[in-house]
């Protein structure tokens, strides 16, 4: 899609936050998805905003290939709008007073390429619709179109799918993988969803209290597996025992390993 070759995004950033200091070094190769995950308030979104230039670090360096976007030591700072970064938020990802076509056209002077993008993402039929008339999935697809319309050199996604239902999230994951393959730019994707991280990430990085925490993702994944196993065990053992003679009419259902009394108003 691009004339110039996609480039790796590298950053080492430090910023004092209220409860901890964010100190992270990352590298996202061109054509790959780096997933940033970790607990809430760990500094993931801050890191994304620093990369975009919407916030400034206390010290650090950001480069795309040989081009330096930020170097606090050398007093270099490229303005956010000149970095060529596509950014998609969880909410407010489209301008609500513009139709989808106007939203995408806002990002590019090339109306034909805007129309092609809508076609390609399967939302051309919504070109005249306002975002308020679109579903969450359609809006986020439109937001991706808008971000890609200006031919970004890197794509930053801040929990773009978190407000969507599971089926839509799965569709959009497919879309994002296609974007990765077709556009070949470095993509940094913030998510809380461990499954999404595992499915999308060529690299998965966990941020915890402002620093990279290599064990966090593995620990969380192991815990989820244990929980899933326990749940499977409960389901497997939750077959009702045959009713004993003389006990008919009792409320509740007796299980072999787990006794559950139906809640008031619920059917057993």
């Amino acid at each position: 899609m691009r004339d110039d070759a996609p480039l790796d995004l590298r950053a080492h950033l430090k910023k004092r936050l209220r409860h901890f200091t964010l100190d992270v070094e990352i590298a996202c190769p061109a054509g790959s998805i780096l997933v940033l995950t970790g607990p809430s308030g760990a500094g993931k979104t801050t890191l994304l905003r620093l990369l975009a230039g919407l916030d400034d670090p206390d010290e650090g360096r950001i480069s795309l290939g040989g081009e330096v976007w930020l170097d606090t030591a050398a007093r270099v700072r490229v303005k956010p709008r000149l970095r060529g970064v596509g950014l998609v938020f969880q909410e407010y990802s489209l301008f609500p007073h513009m139709t989808l076509a106007q939203n995408v056209a806002y990002a590019t002077r090339d109306a034909a390429s805007a129309a092609r993008l809508l076609e390609r993402f399967g939302i051309a039929h919504l070109a005249g619709a306002l975002p308020s008339a679109m579903s969450g999935g359609e809006r986020q697809r439109g937001a991706l179109c808008q971000a890609l319309a200006r031919r970004p050199r890197a794509l930053l996604l801040d929990e773009p799918f978190s407000a969507l239902d599971a089926a839509t999230r799965a569709q959009l994951r497919e879309t994002l993988l296609r974007v990765r393959d077709d556009f070949g730019v470095p993509i940094i994707h913030v998510t809380h969803d461990l499954a999404e991280a595992a499915l999308l990430g060529d690299l998965v990085v966990s941020v915890n209290h402002g620093v990279l925490d290599e064990s966090w993702f593995a620990e969380q994944a192991a815990r989820r597996l244990e929980e899933a196993a326990a749940l499977r065990g409960r389901v497997a053992t939750a077959s009702p025992e045959p009713e004993r003679p003389g006990e008919s009419g009792k409320s509740g259902v007796a299980f072999s390993a787990l006794s559950v009394t139906p809640q008031k108003g619920a059917s057993a």
Binding site: A52, P80, R81, G84, F89, Y92, P96, H97, Y106, A107
Partner: protein
């Protein structure tokens, strides 16, 4: 009493100060809109010391007594002032004790109330849309006109109503910058002060009633703007 009020309303002197006030507002309101809305945007979005200093200066008329603000502007724009002297020398323009002084007083008094609602609006949810526009490569004037303004038009209108209302009722700064010269710089507010001072209560009553009607109209407009359905 009614005859006295009617006579006061028909007085050419009253007509003059109403007309003068309308002229001042005709200059001040467009300046409030064209300067205040972008200024509110910049103060809401900007960072750094320069923005903080500018913010403090814009807020001064809300905090300082109007007489103190007027005195400061008098020193600045007077014949020998830092800005007044070059204006007089290069453009033969004297700001104080004339129409220019009244317009400057109205703009100064109304500006903080024009700026604040816009400043608050761009710091809210609109902030994300502004960031989105920035990341799409748009410079701030484009973002302001195509994204911020369509979204905070209610805040802009609210600020304009409040600022215009404050400018309309301005006395302290106008007194020092305009001089309250009868037949030249006595606006409606200053004329109420003059009339009360000379005991012409009918004249003061007519003008005060006029300002009250305008104030009520502005309040209703503000409430309608906020969707309160008056």
């Amino acid at each position: 009493m009614f005859d006295g009020w009617l006579a006061a309303a028909m007085d050419p002197g009253v007509g003059f100060c109403i007309l003068l006030t309308l002229k001042v507002m005709a200059v001040a309101v467009p300046i409030l809109l064209l300067v205040g809305a972008p200024l509110g945007y910049l103060l809401g979005r900007g960072r750094g010391r320069l923005v903080a200093v500018l913010d403090a200066f814009v807020s001064l008329p809300l905090i300082l007594p109007p007489m103190a603000v007027g005195f400061g502007l008098l020193l600045l724009f007077g014949r020998g002032g830092f800005l007044g002297a070059p204006l007089l020398r290069w453009f033969d323009a004297e700001v104080v004790f004339g129409f220019g002084g009244l317009a400057l007083a109205a703009v100064t008094a109304g500006m903080p109330l024009m700026v604040r609602p816009v400043q608050a609006a761009v710091r809210g949810d609109l902030g994300r849309l502004i960031e989105l526009s920035t990341m799409l490569g748009k410079p701030w004037p484009v973002t302001f006109l195509r994204v911020a303004l369509p979204h905070c038009r209610r805040s802009v209108a609210a600020g304009l109503f409040l600022g215009a209302g404050r400018a309309l009722g301005e006395v302290g700064v106008s007194l020092l910058l305009g001089g309250d010269i009868i037949g030249r710089t006595n606006t409606v507010s200053l004329e109420i002060y003059n009339a009360v001072f000379t005991g012409d209560l009918a004249r003061a009553g007519v003008l005060a009633l006029l300002l009250a009607v305008v104030a009520v109209a502005l309040t209703i407009a503000l409430k309608r703007l906020g969707g309160e359905g008056v």
